[in-house]
Symmetry: C2
Subunit: 324 residues, 2 copies
């Protein structure tokens, strides 16, 4: 968007480019000083009508675009260092851009992840926001997916399944909850993920493997197990649920399958060696992030199993959310 683009960048995005290496967005590139650390790079895009609803408030769209990436950094044990933004828009609407940029700036401040650069392009299609985020870890210390070990305890942060229920409500499904505040809380969880940046150090120091849960707990766990060459067992009644999530499940017990396979949790799933669990839990408490033991890594090549209190397997028709 050359000429309009320059105005737009100056007005809305330059104030967000607080890092010296962003050069005030006046250059073709930014400088990221690594200072001997490894740079952790992650990229995730969200598309209107696919990853967010076209009439979602622009401030929540901005937060989601950045936070889904911050969630990846947290799961890798990385400290945020900055991000670049590609914004593909049909038109330049002040009414949309102003709250979008303001919320993006607030999140960038809150999570210590300043804007380093970007590109804005016009598209005749739906709005798309692509973020590439950078974090730092001491050399060789990025926590991987592929290094879970048999016997490790499986731990997740926060609560699981809220976002998928929130999306169901937004899509008009209704659901069993008649409490407006509970419904609003679930919708908020869909729209605005809570990246567990505060947990990054604990993950880095204690987890043997980790990833963020974006496409459903059981599906993402299957990915982690697959690349680690292991399997896992998850206790359904240990999966942490929010108050609205529990209320929904009480009225619709079959919803457990959907809670553990729905998308957009943006919680951290990690494998922690048994002898590090107490230290991990203490670090999580210090960080103010709730964590729950949900199962264990076991030997085998089978897909991870979800079991009830009687160790009976709960069948899952699908394990993760697919946009197709």
């Amino acid at each position: 968007m050359p000429s309009g683009e320059d105005d737009l960048i100056t007005r809305y995005f330059k104030p967000l480019a607080t890092a010296p290496g962003a050069l005030g967005l006046t250059d073709d590139a930014a400088i990221l000083q690594a200072g001997g650390d490894d740079v952790v790079v992650t990229t995730d895009a969200i598309v209107a009508g696919v990853h967010f609803l076209p009439d979602d408030p622009p401030d929540t769209v901005a937060r989601k675009a950045l936070r889904v990436n911050l969630s990846d950094l947290a799961a890798k044990g990385a400290t945020p260092a900055g991000f670049v933004l590609t914004l593909a828009l049909r038109e330049v609407s002040e009414a949309w851009l102003a709250p979008f940029a303001r919320a993006l700036g607030e999140d960038a401040d809150q999570f210590g992840c300043p804007l380093l650069g970007g590109d804005t392009v016009s598209t005749p299609g739906p709005a798309m926001i692509s973020v590439t985020a950078f974090g730092r870890v001491p050399r060789g210390k990025m926590v991987r997916r592929s290094t879970a070990r048999i016997g490790d305890v499986l731990v997740v942060s926060g609560t699981i399944g809220d976002a998928t229920l929130g999306l169901a409500i937004l899509k008009g499904e209704g659901g069993p909850l008649d409490n407006d505040a509970a419904r609003a809380a679930l919708i908020e969880r869909y729209r605005v993920p809570q990246p567990r940046i505060a947990l990054a150090q604990a993950v880095r120091e204690h987890a043997s493997a980790a990833m963020d849960i974006s496409d459903g707990l059981m599906g993402d766990l299957a990915k982690l197990c697959d690349v680690s060459g292991v399997s896992a067992i998850v206790q359904a009644n240990s999966v942490p649920l929010s108050e609205p999530g529990r209320a929904w499940l009480a009225r619709d017990p079959g919803a457990i399958a959907r809670l553990v396979s729905g998308g957009d949790d943006y919680e951290i799933l990690c494998a922690v060696p048994e002898n590090r669990l107490a230290a991990f839990e203490a670090a999580a408490r210090s960080a103010g992030v709730s964590v729950s033991v949900i199962g264990r890594i076991v030997a085998g090549k089978a897909a991870p199993r979800l079991v009830d209190a009687g160790s009976r397997e709960i069948p899952l028709q699908r394990r993760s959310y697919s946009h197709f």
Copy 2:
């Protein structure tokens, strides 16, 4: 695109993830080892119908998506280190993806810039390819736009204006050339930029300021002058033209304004102190990249002027290409 996405990534993109830090694309993030250097970050997206034509061959689309970013790295004096890719597609078509991925891999090899990670999303809109590319420079050595000095000589690489003529032909404008090979050469310049990576070291060692020319020589020069607080004079008859470009201009002398303001050159524009010019030219020769002196940085706040052999200003209706 979770499930379809995993297949697609494995088949087409995993072979491109040759860097150890890409972790075979099996993780949520990649590791970029900076080893004490600064990391240079640049991001540019291309959209079907805006930056490339919907029926452009997929191999040229892939090359363009990566090369417009490599061009930025070259202009900043950086050595390519890797890139991440966001691919937004309406559908997964093998016929399109296979040649796209193959060409992307060839370019990644050729320019030493391996795939580190990415995201693929479905969109009901036009295809969009967003690349964030990384380069390395010794600490503090990234060449900026804002550091041109009065008296510096203006130098550009390669030839100017070919791509804008190629686009005109593709859009059915015709133009004065009846030679098919010449027309094809101009179209090729539009579709497949030649990033001047070979010139990066010379730029880093000798230029006081630099940028790549993506939106038109005179418009991009205006940006460089603006942030440097200087002005410039460009000799129209020193602007390097290709053989087809010269042939076009011979039959349509008014085209000079369009050549110096059209987009998609992806050449390097740099300001070189007079006493470094000989060394810069020698380094460019060693690198096998032609460079041409086109003018000089002068004092003032006025927009850069294009002048003819008699020092008369050639008026420009616009200075750069705008997608809006």
